[in-house]
Each structure stands twice: as structure tokens, then as C-alpha cells.
């Protein structure tokens, strides 16, 4: 879906720096779903490394072809078959070295060829991560190496903070489709209780009479037996009518309904 956004890089126009607007194709995968995956990865790696692993999440997005090319460059890609959508775990060469190195207590490993043992360790780590894709892929099978990221649409990354200092990418073959929920109808609101207030009609009073008001004094409102009143809901005038008493309870007999924008003052 296209969203209006500002370009991340500012450009110079004279002495000003401005950011151009543009329409961006954004993923509809909820950040909360990606957070569940990230938290699962945190738990899984914490259990594997027997250490506290803090993670940060890069929000889901829809990379363009150059983005996928950058993601897949020098990366190991493990496909994960899911019941709802297929996924992939992307581990760049540097991150593969760091993940495998972290299992042996190393920190800050740079990109290098992995030994057979390190490769096995990495596959075990990726295997543990594959199970964490269930919230976005459904029931998953064990990850297996795939050659390319072609056909994937959505991508987000989980950054593993100290001591691992690595990133794990998650690619999804399908971005969620926007689902329009049916809107509320009046029937859905019939059982909701609201507070309606009624303002009694106004009466003009001499200032002297007002000054003479005291406890026990009576202030008459209107001259007729029925007093005009206005019903309000949440401060907005709804109806005009006459106030009176019906079966020992105060009541407002609705005379006219007030349209929105009729100029009736709000409470």
C-alpha cells in the first residue's frame, strides 16, 4: 500500500535543507507481529547462549530489487516452509561469523569462512530461529539453505546487541493483505449507555432580585405550567422540548429535534 512520506535524505535548496515528499510502498505486516518474532529470537538465543541477549527490531518493509540485491549479497539464506506463508532467514557473512563465533565466546568477529564445526553450530542456531517465525509464517518446517531471495516481498531485521553484535534478517514470501473490517452499525451501539442532560429554560431576573436570593428562596423558571428545556448529549444539543413531571419523575417531552449546525449553543 502506498503511503505519503518524506525522503530520508535532505537536499539543499539555497541555504535551506528540505526533504522531498514521495509515496512509499509500505509493508502491512504489523510491527507487533515482528516484535513477537524478535522476542522469540531473543528467548531462543538467550537459551542457546545461556546469556541475556538484547534485541532491537528494524521495521518491516517492502524492499525494491536493489534492496533485495543488497540484502542477499554475501548472505546465507535459509528457507522456512510455513503453513500460512514461506519465510527465509538471512544471515550476512559478517553476521554468520559473529553468530558462530559467539557460540565459542568470541566477540567482534569479522567476515571469514566458517569451519565445519562453526557451520554446524550456525545451522543449529538458524534451526532454533526458524521455529520463531510461527507468528508470521504459521506452522514452520526446519530451515534449509536456499539459493536466492527471489519471490520474497517483506523484510525485517532483528539486531542482536552485545555480546553478539549481529543482525538476522527475516524475509516473508507474502505481505499481509489489507482486510477491511465491516463498520459499526447503530445496532452495535444499542446497548451502549450514554449520559443525557437537560438544561431548563432561562428566566430573566432583575439584579436586585438576584442579590436578594438566599437559602430557601424560590427561583421561578418560565410562566407556563411546562418549562422549555434542551436535551444534550456529550455537550451537543439534541432536542428541544418541555420539562415536566411524569409518574413522579422529571421528564422532557421532545418537541423538536435539533440538527447539527443549527447554531444551538453547546453546553
Amino acid at each position: 500500500m502506498n503511503f505519503l512520506a518524506f525522503a530520508p535524505e535532505a537536499m539543499r535548496i539555497g541555504s535551506r535543507r528540505v526533504r522531498a515528499y514521495r509515496f512509499e510502498d509500505r509493508s502491512l505486516l504489523p510491527v507487533s507481529a515482528a516484535c513477537v518474532v524478535a522476542n522469540g529470537i531473543r528467548e531462543a538465543l538467550g537459551a542457546l547462549f545461556a546469556a541475556t541477549v538484547n534485541v532491537r527490531l528494524f521495521e518491516p518493509l517492502l524492499p525494491d530489487p536493489s534492496g533485495w540485491e543488497a540484502i542477499g549479497r554475501d548472505a546465507r539464506v535459509y528457507g522456512v516452509r510455513g503453513s500460512r506463508a514461506d519465510g527465509a532467514i538471512v544471515v550476512r557473512a559478517t553476521d554468520a561469523s559473529r553468530l558462530a563465533g559467539a557460540a565459542f565466546g568470541e566477540t567482534q568477529s569479522s567476515a571469514r569462512a566458517l569451519s565445519e564445526m562453526e557451520a554446524t553450530v550456525l545451522e543449529r542456531i538458524v534451526g532454533a530461529l526458524g521455529a520463531q517465525l510461527a507468528p508470521v509464517c504459521g506452522t514452520t518446517q526446519r530451515p534449509s539453505v536456499i539459493a536466492t531471495l527471489q519471490g520474497f516481498s517483506t523484510y525485517f531485521e532483528v539486531e542482536l546487541e552485545a555480546p553478539i553484535h549481529a543482525r538476522v534478517g527475516i524475509a516473508l514470501a507474502r505481505d499481509p493483505v489489507e482486510q477491511h473490517a465491516p463498520s459499526l452499525t447503530l445496532d452495535d451501539l444499542r446497548s451502549v449507555e450514554v449520559e443525557v442532560s437537560v438544561r431548563l429554560g432561562a428566566e430573566r431576573l432583575a439584579a436586585g432580585a438576584l442579590a436578594g436570593l438566599a437559602v430557601g428562596a424560590v427561583l421561578p423558571l418560565g410562566r407556563a405550567a411546562a418549562t422549555p428545556g434542551i436535551a444534550y448529549l456529550a455537550g451537543r444539543a439534541l432536542a428541544r422540548g418541555e420539562c415536566g413531571v411524569v409518574r413522579d419523575r422529571y421528564a422532557l417531552s421532545i418537541g423538536t429535534l435539533i440538527d447539527e449546525g443549527s447554531g444551538e449553543p453547546s453546553l
Binding site: P8, E9, V31, P63, G67, A70, Q108, S110
Partner: protein, 241 residues
Amino acid sequence: MLVSASTERALDYIAQRASDVQRAYAPGAVPAFDDVANARSAVSKNVDPLSIALPNDAYLITRDAPSDPLYTRDGGLQVRDGLLVTQRGSPVLGYASAENAPVGDLAIDPVDRALGRVQNLRIEADGTFAYDRTVVDPRSGTREMQRIAVGRLALARFPAATKLGIVDATRASAPAGVVPHVGRPGDGNFDRVVPMRREGSHIDIDRSLEKLKDAYTAFDALAAAHKAQSKLGKTAMDLLK
């Protein structure tokens, strides 16, 4: 007709003086001759976070692959294809964030760049080339800005009275056999850089023009001497005949 060695030297001298005049407005330009150097150049403020003013006597290190490093005092930098480069597009060298990293290119993470995560690119006072990216704490769901340091600029300083070779308007090369001292801004050997500033030329245009005129005058005098010498020789030959 062969050009005498003294004429050749005089022409070279004029060319170098003319080069100083031509570069008198190039940012960070350093003169070929000390007698036209400004003690302090004008430093202008700007809003460019990739623009810096360097400490005195310090140079940025750039390279034109595959040649040797070149040096510049022009702190107007930019990013091209993820690399920190000079206005002419030459990569600016520095120390990557990893410990004990050798001096090399300063490159933004290619995935961050390709996915549009790079925000607020800047050079900080300690020479750190940094940017921000938005991350989410998955436990709370809150977004936060994360500072990423790509690396720190490398600065070079030459021994006093070293005469650098002028390469173009803003870049110079080290003389053969001279190795500069290299460090980081604010490391104790170099002062910090000043962000959002750009240094002007170190060349005094008025004195450069005077010296260029002097060079032409000297050349004219040399030409007159050659002419007189030639005339004298001809007269001597005529007398002999």
C-alpha cells in the same frame, strides 16, 4: 629552437604562481609558495552536517585509486554510493568503527543504505562519521533512534616546512620520502574538527597577483638578457668576420 634551462625554470615559476592565483578561491587551498599564504583563512558557517573545518596544519586523507594518498584541507564532504567522499568524488579515508581498524574508506552499511534507513548523516566534532536509524524495542514496542558510527576521519600532519606537491585546486601530494603523522581529531595530537563550517582558501589573492607580476617581470628581464647576450655574440662574430 631549444629553450634554455633558465627560461624553463622561469616558465615553471610563472606557472606555479599562476596556479596560486587560480586556486585563491578554492576552499581549503594551500599555496605553492609560503609568501602568499594567509596565516588564517576565512571559515564560513553553513547548514551542511557533512561540512567541517579542520584543525590548523591538518589534512584529510583521500585517494584516487590506485594512486598514493592525496591530502586536502577542503572539509566540504558528501556521500556518494555510500562512501564519504570529497567534492571531487575522491573517497575520504578514516578508521572504521572496529577496534584496530586500519585507515580505509568510510562506507555506510549497504543494507541500511539500500533500505532507506540512513537518517541524519553527519560528521561530529571528534571526526566520527555517523548516522541515525530508527529501531523498535520489541519488548515495549517503542521506537527509538539508534546512533551508528561508521568510523572516524583520519587526519594527517606533515613536518614543518614540508612543501606539498599541488595536484589540483584543493588536493596536494606528499613529497617523496615524507610520511605524515596520522591520527584522529581530538586524539591529543590533533584538535577536534568544527562541524558545519567550511574553510576558505589559504592563498592571499592580492599578494599572489603581485608575485605573478614579479614573475613575469623577471621572465621579461631574463628574455632581455638573452636577447642582449645573443646580440653581443652576433656583434662579436661580425667583428671577427
